[in-house]
């Protein structure tokens, strides 16, 4: 799974394989969830914890919007993920979430928020790109080489797809299809990539 930031847009790209070691259990597993109009979250790791953690964050954001009367901002949400993970410090969720969102800083100006976490809540927010999952090291190489600043949504799609596909082909535990979620202030676009079905 990889998340990348562009100019006023962010994207998360993921594969859809769910496996138990070498056995493929599901070839169409959903890992990326929409939190609100300005934030998406991708979760990699243990399948059951992916789904539980998503439900938990949904619960917390619903409560937040009832209390505050507005949608949660991307930056705040990223911190909420961190504290939620730390609540289970001594019996953690076996997940590596990736949060991608846009924070409004002015009229038409959005600050991208890209965060990666370990399973107990350390938040890494370098701002450019973050990787997670079994193909993390493979993705690091690709992203370092292909990433550039201030990409538009179309270019961001090309770059992130390239990175994911190259890494997917080398990692035996990832594959069976890929989706790219591109978030701009106006819309969330989901595109499916044609990959090797192995």
């Amino acid at each position: 799974m990889v998340a990348m930031a562009g100019k006023n847009c962010v994207a998360i790209a993921t594969d859809t394989r769910l496996g138990a070691d070498l056995l493929t259990v599901d070839g169409n597993f959903q890992r990326v969830f929409k939190v609100n109009d300005k934030t998406i979250m991708g979760i990699s790791g243990l399948g059951t914890d992916v789904q539980t953690f998503n439900s938990l964050m949904k619960f917390k954001t619903n409560l937040y919007s009832l209390n505050e009367g507005r949608q949660i901002k991307a930056g705040t949400f990223s911190k909420l993920v961190s504290t939620t993970l730390y609540e289970k410090r001594w019996g953690p969720y076996f997940v590596s979430p990736l949060v991608a969102g846009l924070d409004k800083v002015g009229e038409g100006e959005y600050q991208p928020v890209i965060c990666n976490y370990d399973s107990i809540g350390y938040r890494e927010h370098s701002g450019n790109f973050e990787v997670a999952g079994t193909g993390a090291e493979l993705l690091y190489g690709c992203c370092e080489a292909f990433y550039k600043d201030d990409m538009g949504p179309e270019e961001l799609f090309e770059v992130i797809s390239n990175c994911l596909l190259s890494a997917l082909d080398r990692d035996s535990l990832s594959g069976w299809g890929a989706y790219v979620y591109i978030l701009t202030p106006e819309e969330l676009t989901v595109r499916a990539l044609k990959t090797r079905q192995d």
């Binding site: 493979l138 993705l139 190489g141 370092e144 082909d169």
Partner: protein, 252 residues
């Protein structure tokens, strides 16, 4: 069934009980016979890390490696050369333990000299490839801790890369990678060159773009891998000879 009653076995059986009576707990001063235990912990292998990639072109090969060697989290040297030229048409490079990389390279140089005495010409790349394989296998039960790649120009004039594992099993490739940064190099090389996923593999055409790509790849790896950095040693072999260049990169 009761072999403690049979005399010869009884003796052996009772002899084996004796060492337990003199354990270090009851006899802390009795260290004779225990020195070997401490030396038995000696580990002859250590990993000195670093990354190397090799790319085969239509009539040239390009080998790019970083020049850092480390032991654990310490840097031992920033100017170590991993690549050696064996013949006019072959380059040897490796990742892993420096003692074994150097030892193996010296071994191969010696074998090339012997070959030249016997045959009065240099070995071809295919012959050298087989020679590397058998040399590695000769140490099957105490292997060279070096992940070797042989890059060169074969007898048809095309560039080829041979990749080996520690015991000598090998295959021809259009590009190869080894070392601590290999998982970061793999998808980049797949993307830029025709190799891994393709039925028909094609060596690279444009020499300039191969050099640029090799430098960029090692640079990208140095950003994320702690064991890669300091400088890139770019070695290019073609029919005119060998050129070696050093380019400094991040030293952190």
């Amino acid at each position: 069934e009761n072999y403690t009653q049979v005399n010869i076995f009884k003796e052996v059986f009772e002899k084996q009980q004796a060492p337990n009576n003199q354990s270090l707990i009851t006899h802390p001063h009795k260290t004779i016979g225990n020195e070997n235990k401490q030396h038995g912990q000696f580990n002859p292998y250590q990993m000195n890390n670093g990354t190397a990639i090799a790319i085969a072109g239509k009539d040239f090969v390009c080998v790019a490696s970083d020049t850092r060697i480390s032991s654990g989290y310490t840097i031992i040297s920033r100017e170590y050369s991993r690549t050696t030229q064996l013949t006019k048409t072959a380059l040897l490079t490796a990742g892993g333990q420096v003692a074994d990389i150097d030892g193996f390279a010296k071994d191969m140089q010696m074998k090339v000299k012997v070959y030249m005495r016997q045959h009065r010409r240099e070995p071809t790349l295919e012959t050298l490839a087989r020679l590397v394989c058998t040399t590695l296998y000769s140490r099957r039960f105490f292997p060279y801790y070096s992940f070797v790649m042989l890059a060169g120009i074969n007898s048809e004039g095309t560039g080829v890369v041979y990749g080996y594992d520690v015991f000598g099993s090998h295959d021809t490739m259009t590009y190869g990678f080894t070392g601590s940064g290999q998982s970061m190099a793999a998808p980049l090389l797949d993307n830029q060159f025709v190799g891994h996923n393709h039925l028909v593999k094609k060596p690279a055409e444009n020499r300039q773009s191969v050099e640029e790509a090799a430098k960029d790849i090692i640079n990208s790896i140095a950003e994320r891998d702690i064991y890669t950095g300091d400088s890139i040693e770019l070695t290019i072999l073609d029919k005119n000879g060998v050129t070696v260049r050093h380019e400094p990169i991040r030293r952190d």
